[in-house]
Symmetry: C2
Subunit: 123 residues, 2 copies
């Protein structure tokens, strides 16, 4: 891939990336990427993000095995947000749900739990 689209990394340290299931269209999660996270994503084909709280690069699924195979990356009109079209192994959310967006604003759960987090994460 070439870098025809200018991204906003000259203005900000990281930009949000939305992960969308390439088949179902479900929006699975939102996380942040640095140039390094994006480069690792493109090199490996697996979604990498930047943890703001840990100030660290991370690969989605590095502990759970629930990796995201990136089929396509899109960029928005302003170059300050990305869309990862992905094939998700397991579930995207650390709570066991398919999507991190599994609740309505009033707390009602509308998403599907697809794995038991206690069986996947050690802590």
């Amino acid at each position: 891939m070439s870098d025809a689209v200018d991204l906003a990394f000259d203005e900000v340290e990281y930009i949000p990336a939305v992960a969308q299931d390439a088949s179902s269209g479900a929006v699975l999660m939102l996380a942040y990427v640095t140039p390094e996270a994006l480069e690792r994503t493109r090199e490996t084909g697996l979604a990498h993000y930047y943890s703001r709280s840990r100030d660290a690069l991370w690969q989605k699924g590095e502990s759970s095995g629930h990796v995201q195979h990136v089929e396509e990356i899109r960029v928005d009109c302003d170059g300050d947000a990305l869309l990862y079209l992905i094939d998700q192994e397991g579930g995207a959310c650390h709570t066991g749900y398919e999507s991190c967006f599994h609740r309505r604003l009033d707390g009602e759960v509308v998403g599907e739990q697809v794995f038991d987090p206690d069986a996947v994460y050690d802590d």
Copy 2:
């Protein structure tokens, strides 16, 4: 709607909101919301956001008429990102495309242009 889910507004001034077409599942745009923007969205049923560059509340479509009717609002597991499930009038992108995410990272245009921006915007 009650406020059963705690949002991250005690830690940050604004959080990202992803607008997804409720029918097609297309991810249309990403913008930011403050508590005030979210309140106006819930009161009116029309998507409101916060412009970081202008430090101002704005209603999507206030100049173009391309408003977003919000059918449902979801919140992610950490309470620091929202998903607006919307019915979009016209197109979401100021460039005339249905989605702001109409380009691949290499610049290839993959989205559909649905209106002529010169006919919609005065400047």
